[in-house]
């Protein structure tokens, strides 16, 4: 074992120690092998402790309270906004709190979309998209008379960009994922955004699987909108964020209406608050927003370059080990190249349905997701009824891959492969 691998093992061990759930055993006494971080990540102690500290020490509504704990809560809430913004290279006045990626995308479709999309306009998506970056645009297209186009995906799960300029003709908006949650494919955003801007389109990036795994700099990317979910990147459930270029946000009509997003209200007329609060109606998810900042601190401290490298190495190892089962019927989907994917691998094993496979793996403590992964159209196009998906994060290591392989061996026995 080389020195750097040893160092890395000790770093991973200290990360694992921060996640209390990973020390637990399942009801069958198995070690918890959590390979479903693409669905939601586990949370480290500093994030959990932040929630407890908030509720035990300074829980109060923000922005309007003049007393001490309200002031502390407001400061922590806005400081956290700055941290999350900074994590993706944005300014805090360009970062809107949402519940999750889905709400962030809906915000753009309801506000920017309603103001800018007209009958006959085209919206360009890719065939990789998660339902959350597809259905909002279907509904917008239905309401406005716009139409959808799709960047095609090839049989390896890579986008085919040959026709990109033709596809971009007449397009007002490109809404595209950073990373496919089903195949792990990393989308070449640089190229797509540059071409889209050249064609005069605005670009929204679905960063649900990007921000947790890759170093993101929205300014360098030149994304117009970037949507993400805290719960997939060590933060609590119920908090997400939308980055938007300030001039776009300023020009957009409000989304939800109510307290906090207003400046002056009369019975028959209202003027709205400044960005970002214009888009935040009602009492926010204060505790979890504060937790999101701590999660970003944690990741920044690990260093996102390290995170990416760690996951690349782990994927590489997983591809190797899974290949051992190919002779017995294991099929691996997606690019199969750790440099092209970000920590999620889809597969099927002979004629074992993915749900049955996941159930059997569960008896060994191995948690994987099975099904359509909220990408039904992609599944249909690829001709897969369902796949099993193993996804990795900072707290996974080679032992977890080994546990997966052992559990797959057990499934082979049960299904008499």
């Amino acid at each position: 074992m080389s020195v750097s691998a040893a160092l890395d093992a000790s770093k991973t061990a200290s990360i694992i120690a921060d996640f209390p759930i990973l020390a637990r055993k399942t009801s069958r006494g198995k070690r918890l092998v959590y390979l479903d971080s693409a669905a939601t990540s586990q949370k480290p102690n500093p994030v959990i402790d932040t929630l407890v500290q908030y509720y035990r020490e300074y829980n109060a509504n923000v922005h309007r309270g003049v007393y001490e704990i309200a002031s502390r809560a407001t400061d922590a809430f806005e400081l956290s906004r700055a941290k999350v913004a900074d994590f993706i290279g944005a300014r805090s006045d360009e970062l809107i709190w949402t519940r999750n990626t889905t709400e962030a995308i809906n915000l753009v479709s309801a506000s920017w979309g309603a103001a800018n999309i007209r009958s006959g306009d085209a919206i360009l998506l890719s065939e990789l998209e998660h339902h959350s970056n597809l259905v909002p645009w279907q509904l917008l297209a239905e309401r406005t008379g716009a139409h959808l186009r799709f960047i095609p995906v090839d049989e390896r799960g890579l986008l085919v960009l040959d026709d990109l300029d033709r596809l971009l003709d007449g397009v007002k908006l490109v809404a595209i994922t950073h990373v496919s949650n089903t195949l792990g494919t990393i989308v070449p955003l640089d190229r797509i955004i540059a071409r889209a801007h050249a064609a005069g389109a605005v670009v929204l990036v679905d960063g649900a699987q990007g921000a947790p795994h890759l170093a993101v700099d929205v300014k360098a990317l030149d994304a117009d909108f970037y949507a993400m979910s805290g719960h997939k990147m060590l933060a609590p459930t119920g908090i997400g964020a939308l980055y938007g270029k300030r001039e776009l946000l300023d020009a957009m009509p409000p989304f939800l209406a109510g307290g906090d997003m207003i400046r002056r209200v009369e019975y028959r007329h209202t003027t709205f608050n400044d960005v970002p609060w214009k888009f935040e109606a009602g009492t926010g998810n204060i505790a979890d927003a504060i937790g999101y900042g701590v999660a970003c601190d944690y990741l920044a401290n690990l260093d996102m370059t390290w995170v990416r490298e760690h996951e690349r190495r782990l994927s590489d190892y997983a591809f190797q080990r899974l290949a051992e089962l190919e002779p017995r019927g294991l099929a691996i989907y997606g690019p199969r190249n750790a440099s092209l994917v970000s920590g999620a691998i889809s597969f099927n094993f002979a004629d074992i349905h993915a749900h049955d496979l996941a159930s059997i793996l569960d008896t060994e403590g191995v948690c994987v997701r099975a099904g359509h992964h909220c990408t039904m159209p992609l599944m249909d196009k690829m001709g897969w009824a369902a796949t099993a998906r193993a996804s990795f994060y900072v707290y996974n290591d080679e032992r977890d891959v080994d546990a997966l392989i052992d559990a797959l061996e057990k499934a082979a026995v049960i299904f008499k492969l």
């Binding site: 569960d362 099904g371 369902a386 049960i414």
Partner: protein, 130 residues
């Protein structure tokens, strides 16, 4: 769940009974399990006495949904539509003969839901939620 996959379950999964289509079915229903996307369609031929004279199912799904539907078609053949409409969760559980974990209950009940929908001519409730 690992004890679930017994020989006869795997047999029904790999060799489903009454699989396919009927030429001119008297009743048809289909449904998707929203949790996993599994889809099942059931077609019935009904005789003069209102009995299920023939039955076919089609679709894709896990061993649980496929095997339980396969067994269910054997149970249903010869039943009246009324009797089929009254079938409960227990009928399926007896067929499969082994505990189903709560997360997989919908898989086991999908076929029954579709059968009952075909029998009553409208969408039936989920048998595990009645």
């Amino acid at each position: 769940m690992d004890d679930f996959y017994r020989d006869y379950i795997l047999d029904h999964y790999r060799n489903p009974r009454n699989f396919g289509h009927l030429e001119h079915p008297d009743a048809v229903a289909e449904d998707t399990n929203p949790l996993c996307g599994d889809h099942i369609k059931i077609e019935l031929r009904v005789d003069d006495q209102g009995k299920i004279a023939d039955i076919r199912f089609s679709g894709k799904g896990c061993a649980i949904s496929q095997a339980s539907t396969s067994m269910l078609t054997e149970t249903a053949k010869g039943m009246t539509l009324e009797a089929a409409a009254r079938l409960t969760k227990d009928a399926v559980l007896e067929n499969v003969g082994i505990g189903i974990s709560p997360t997989r209950m919908k898989c086991a009940m999908l076929g029954l839901r579709v059968l009952k929908s075909a029998a009553i001519g409208t969408i039936a409730a989920w048998p595990d939620e009645e």
